[in-house]
Amino acid sequence: MSSFSGLQPSSSNIQPDYQQRVGSHPFCKNKIALLALSVILFLTLVAAATLLLSWLGLPWPMNPNATDLSQKLLPPSPLHWLGTDHLGRDVFSRMLHGAPISLTVGFTAVIVSLSIGVVIGSIAGFCGGKVDQFLMRLVDAFLCFPTFFLILTVVALLGPSLMNIVLVIGLVSWTGTARLVRGEFLTLRETPYVQAAFTLGQNSSTIIFRHILPNAAAVILITAVLGIPEVILAEAGLSFLGFGVQPPQATWGNIIADGKAYLLEAWWLILFPGFAIFVTALSFYLVGDSLREAGEK
């Protein structure tokens, strides 16, 4: 409530309401969004720690790929917190080792789609005319495809690997960003300071990179955050259909895919990894949405 800050008693008149301002940013007021942000940070930390530990040769809490058929399909217990799968592997360990994969796929695929989207959107919005017309028709065409089915087809035909999945998801899902960036360019082009830059004879690249793009950054960042959960869900869906990152590498999606044959006897193989996907996606959506709302206020 920065508008009332002048009326509030403050302990020191000289110090500006710096602390108040930090705490009163609309994003910080949203308790749920802060909680979601801490979930994401926690997950990132866990993923990093798991990677570090397994790199040091100390896979914690257990080796995610150590099989023990005498211990197969055990329900959750103090030894195996989330039970074991059909090969006797510890589900909790596998889930920890799946976390870096989900996050990596999420971040990198969004970077790919964002780069394409920003470039195409910028070109369309800046050039206008025929170029804009053509690029927007291309976007329209891509929007008619059932995205997930297209991703599934290409990944299945190319062969599923981490690299292919990231590239294909990125190459297919840039359309939203392109539309948005184009819109921003069309608006920002008409602002007085950009018109002034044109009048002063500045070259196009200066105008694009110094005057327009920085002002579109907030919108781009928000699309990026909202894009991550979509990628994570798409990757999980691919894994589930058998075209995600391949076993023995554990991912949340392929724990479920392996577990679906034991659906009726081993519910823990479905419940926990799915819950992890769900909570991660939900957290990104909540953070992205509250960023958007904070930007609107």
Partner: protein, 320 residues
């Protein structure tokens, strides 16, 4: 109006052409062979391979392959590479199941989405709004396959409700009504799961549109002249906020059809999604190209329909 429709149809044809081009080249240029017997099978003689290549025009240069594909697509001569059945026959037996599933899911998305969005806007900033908002994010973030499995697990195992397939097998139905009710019953659960993401997006759109409308002057006027709150809400505000709902119909389709690939597989629902998944597994190119084409046509028609509806609902919009 007529010129608008004609122009849009013309544009749609151009887009469909572009779409068939993209999907053909994406599918054909990816490495790997479509042979039903595997690339390296020693038992297949070169003559058989050559005959297969000739039959499906794989021996021609790419641009001719594309032309042949378009020709076969429109004359209905396109055949599956696996069982040599006409693609159109295979798809048309699957179409009713997918259509009923998707129409049901759209109905759910629109109705529940409207309800959630409406109350969200009414109780804006209130704890009720927070719960509704949270609920809609929850719906988007739920992985479809996960929630389906949980439902199958609880309902089939613990409650014992048969929900797989399109209808119950081995039961004689006394009359048509019972048969249709049984089919509807089997449709419910997959349709609900499929519509979750749609409900969420629709409710978010409606909420923000409704919040905007509620700040308009004519709402103030309507309240000031003492109209009942429900009249103001439903006749003035809701009617003017329906815009995103209509534009949503066109955008929902590709999402739903993507979703039905997974949902149909889990619920053993014999629709196009399942057919597509099988075609992906078997690298059946003609089916993949045709499926993409049919979905794109449906999406374009949906968009045209939503534009027309849009102009009908909102007289300020002029179609030119």
């Amino acid at each position: 109006m007529l010129s608008f429709i004609l122009r849009r149809l013309g544009l749609s044809v151009v887009l469909l052409f572009l779409i068939s081009f993209i999907s053909f080249f994406i599918i054909t240029l990816t490495p790997g062979s479509p042979y039903p017997w595997g690339e390296m099978n020693p038992k297949i003689s070169p003559e058989v391979k050559a005959a297969f290549r000739k039959k499906f025009h794989l021996d021609l240069p790419l641009h001719q392959q594309y032309a042949m594909m378009l020709h076969d697509l429109f004359t209905g001569e396109l055949r599956s590479m696996k069982d040599d059945l006409p693609v159109m026959n295979k798809i048309s037996t699957r179409l009713p199941a997918t259509l009923s599933l998707n129409i049901m899911a759209i109905l759910f998305s629109l109705s529940f989405g409207t309800l959630l969005g409406l109350y969200g806007a009414l109780y804006r900033g209130n704890w009720k709004d927070m719960i509704l908002s949270f609920l809609s994010f929850l719906f988007i973030a739920l992985p479809g396959f996960w929630i389906s499995y949980l439902l199958v697990l609880t309902l089939v195992k613990h409650v014992g409700i048969p929900i797989l397939g399109t209808h119950s097998y081995g039961i004689e139905f006394p009359n048509h009504l019972a048969l249709w009710l049984d089919r509807l019953w089997h449709l419910m659960l997959p349709a609900i799961v499929l519509s979750l993401a749609g409900i969420a997006t629709q409710s978010r759109y409606l909420r923000s549109s409704m919040i905007e409308t509620l700040q308009e002057n004519y709402i103030l006027t309507a309240r000031a002249k003492g109209l009942a709150p429900t009249v103001v809400l439903y006749q003035h505000a809701l009617r003017n906020s329906l815009r995103p709902l209509i534009t949503g119909i066109g955008m929902l389709l590709p999402i739903l059809i993507s979703g039905s690939v997974i949902i149909e597989t889990i619920f053993a629902y014999p629709g196009m999604g399942q057919l597509g998944y099988q075609a992906v597994l078997e690298r059946d190119y003609p089916i993949l190209v045709t499926l993409n084409f049919i979905v794109a046509t449906m999406v374009l028609l949906g968009n045209l329909l939503s534009d027309l509806l849009y102009a009908w609902v909102d007289p300020r919009v002029r179609l030119e």
